[in-house]
Amino acid sequence: MAKDFGIGAEAKRTEDIRYLTGAGNYTHDVNVHGQAYAVFVRSNMAHARIKSVGAAAAEGMPGVLAVFTGEDFKDVGGNPAGWFIGSRDGSPMKEPKRPVLAHGKVRHVGDAYAAVIAQTYMEAKDAAQAVADASEFEELPAIIDMAQALADSSNRVHDEIADNQCFDWGWIEDNRAKVDAAIKAAPHVTTLELVNNRLIPNAMEPRASIGEFNPGTGDYKLTTTSQNPHLTRLLVAAFVLGIPENKLQVVAPDVGGGFGSKIYHYGEEALVLAAAKKLKKPVKWVAERSESFLSDAHGRDHVTKIELACEKDGTFIAFRTETMANVGAYLSNFSTVTPTFLHGTLMAGPYKVPNVYVNVKTVFTNTAPVDAYRGAGRPEATYSLERVVDQMCRELGLDPFEVRRKNFITTDMFPYTTPAGLAYDVGNYHATLDKAMELADVAGFEARRKAAAAKGKLRGLGLSTWIEACGIAPSNLVGILGARVGLYDAATVRVNPTGNVSVMVGAHSHGQSHETVFAQIISDMFGIPMSSVDIVHGDTAKIPFGMGSYGSRSLAVCGQAMANAADKVIAKGKKIAAHMLEATEAEIVFSDGVFAVSGTNRSKTFGEIAFSAYVPHNYPLATLEPGLEETAFYDPANFTYPAGTYLCEVEVDAETGKVDVCNFTCADDFGNVINPMVVRGQVHGGVVQGIGQALLEHGVYDENGQLLSGSYMDYTMPRADDVPFVTVDHSCITPCSHNKLGVKGCGEAGAIGSPPAVVNAVLDALNRGGHKIAHIDMPLTPSRVWSAMNA
């Protein structure tokens, strides 16, 4: 059979069948014979010394098997930060231990300090309440405000960290004086103070974990909601519990969305494993949504001052950023890299600005840990830049489209090294700007604005030109920057004797469609139907290795690893064909699933070669090994740099301040596209998450550290009637220059580019309507917009 859906086809998704028929297999759906249930006892105070844990209260309650407290884990390791970031003065970052269960102090509402294991979920829940009721605390003042936390050493999240500061990072420190001087001498400086609002990820599947232990072999198994099972295995095994990695299998089956929050290892995973070993019983835990709100790693939460220095004609001279980034109560795994290298290095945007300096202070507070959330640092960078550029245009009376055009890096300048330290390989920012303006009918905006004004609505047009560094890798670069892991990926391509193919990939799909998209690549390369290709992911016992899925890296890193392994299979196939066809290897050509001797009609199909590999009668075994299976590890030469232009049109109700998003248009350059339908879907979702950040979502703690937005009644998720259709174009293509697929990654783009487009649109509407407003912090709720209009 010939290939059916290759690279570039809008193949329907193979994974859909199980999801549409209720046959998905999420962690909560997995039940292991004899399993017990864990329920965690979580702090209802933001900051307190633990005087006593009322574990005894659960003893003798129906079904209770064990109660674990922080005392049980005080001698095992902590959950580490994955990146080391140094301070400007050369001092190392502060790394307080993050224990499995809180010990000594609880540091945020939701911090787990005990866990009850019982025969049934309800028995565990009842007993957990009894433990909570019997536990005693000395409540301490909550540390919530970042500036206050830095200023007041008398109150500390971690007793050993005097100023609640993790590090004070400068990027690039050598640029600092030059940037200061340029800003001082500049003809115009625009300054904005911004809050990048705290977000709560809210993957629709709450976290869940099942621990198993086999006393006969000493093997552990963790089934868990993870975006990267191998990293979880490393963290649980080597850092926290001290289990040999070969004794721990981590399985992440179907995972119901991640958006960053399921990258990280959480204490619940270590607890169910330790409990399974102690009780010789499988132990299952499933988070309630309120636990997700309280204990999943949150996102964003920056307070930023950004200054843009420019000529009077809008030519950029320098950007200077000072940010306080909240890391919450403990360092989550990527919490130190997100506000630094994933943020500071993007502060040149797509612009040829000569001077950039970024200072980031990370602050411990009595709030849930904050870590990478869809976009991770890059949305924060893009928001600051695109907001300040727009405000500068307003101050100087310049056209925001023309100012961007004037400052864009041009196509003849690539590769281009920015003053923020990244080397962009390719791009065409003018092309995406032109495309977006055409698709959004910018020329017709004035007529639409007048029509809106006639019905009492203020209409505005907002622009955002974004760039991101994706395909998070390469190891040698991230190693220099402070990563404690490598960031390659791996895949094994196994051709079975009957010619169908199993592909084991280190990336994990939790909505990204790898089972379809990766199969399209193999189908294309081998000339076989997609239905003959299975993509296997999410099981450390099945796949060679992998660094998982985040940072829009799956295709650009793991996809390329898979393509490299497939190339090796083809090379091996040529050897086999040469033997079977009595030709030299150099004479064999492979295309459309057929190995042929060049210039002859002698050939063997892919299936015949596969069969022969496993039935190697008459093989010259000294030079030709049986089997047809290859593995590749791929470590890229650089990040990839997707970029694009987003245009948003809004109408603001002049009476109430309510914002309606009328149109949203995206012109993206993702390099080559494997499945356009999937790419558009990724952008739709990202854009709506960004609209959510701009208009609706806000994780709010009060001054006592209580999470005010701890349910869907209080935390406003975008719903179907909050958003419009989103126009997505990806026809502007500059293929990535350093991976053979020419791909860049599309998973985070929507969430990166959209918030400033929405906010710029609202401010455009208000200013055109006669309200001289420089800025409103997200989310732009009716209350905030109305208050700004009526200030």
């Binding site: 329907k12 998704r13 994974e15 859909d16 069948i17 199980r18 999801y19 549409l20 028929t21 209720g22 046959a23 998905g24 999420y26 909560h28 759906d29 309800m122 809210n202 993957a203 629709m204 599947e205 709450p206 179907d254 995972v255 119901g256 969305g257 958006f259 309630e288 949504r289 309120s290 939790h510 909505g511 990204q512 469609s513 339908m677 999937v678 558009r680 879907g681 990724q682 739709h684 979702g685 990202g686 854009v687 709506v688 998450q689 349910s711 869907y712 009644m713 998720m717 975008p718 719903r719 179907a720 009637d721 958003v723 259709f725 989103v726 126009t727 997505v728 174009d729 929507g750």
Partner: protein, 161 residues
């Protein structure tokens, strides 16, 4: 514990339950029908929507014993008799109306109820009709398209790519 009996996807079933057992748990734990998902346990997200006697209901908001004797349909009962995808399921696949799949069962069940009440909904009707179901992946774009397509409308005419 009480034995609760009802008809689920056309078959009479029963399971032992506590009085406090929610219909969602009865289906998942009692009957092993894990297609009905629990996304929030506070009747806000819609992942657990099923039909009770033809009406779309969040199954985390009712006790199992209160619907004893009812006819319940879950996502597992939505395929055609020959196992092929039903019209709405097929439209969701054709229009890429799902990504991680977690909200999907509830979305399909809510969409089926919506279309039963309003066979030719406008875009606004669909968006309003699905506002009780949260999806974090798709931005709703392709879900709205899928529902309109399932109603026989030409979605290319109403929705951008």
């Amino acid at each position: 514990m009480t034995k609760v009996t009802m008809t689920v996807n056309g078959k009479s079933v029963s399971a032992e339950t506590e009085g406090r057992t929610l219909l969602s748990s009865y289906l998942r734990e009692g009957l092993g029908l894990t297609g009905t998902h629990i996304g929030c346990d506070t009747s806000q997200c819609g992942a657990c929507v099923v039909h009770i006697d033809g009406v779309a209901v969040k199954s985390c908001s009712v006790f199992a014993q209160d619907v004893a004797g009812s006819k319940v349909t879950t996502i597992e009962g939505m395929a055609n008799a020959d196992g092929s995808l039903g019209v709405i399921q097929q439209a969701f696949q054709d229009h890429h109306g799902l990504q991680c799949g977690f909200c999907t069962p509830g979305m399909v069940m809510s969409s089926a109820a919506l279309l039963a009440n309003n066979p030719k909904p406008t875009e606004a009707d669909v968006r309003h009709g699905l506002e009780g179901n949260i999806c974090r992946c798709t931005g709703y774009h392709n879900i709205v398209k899928a529902v309109m397509a399932a109603s026989g409308q030409d979605v290319a005419a109403v929705a951008a790519e």
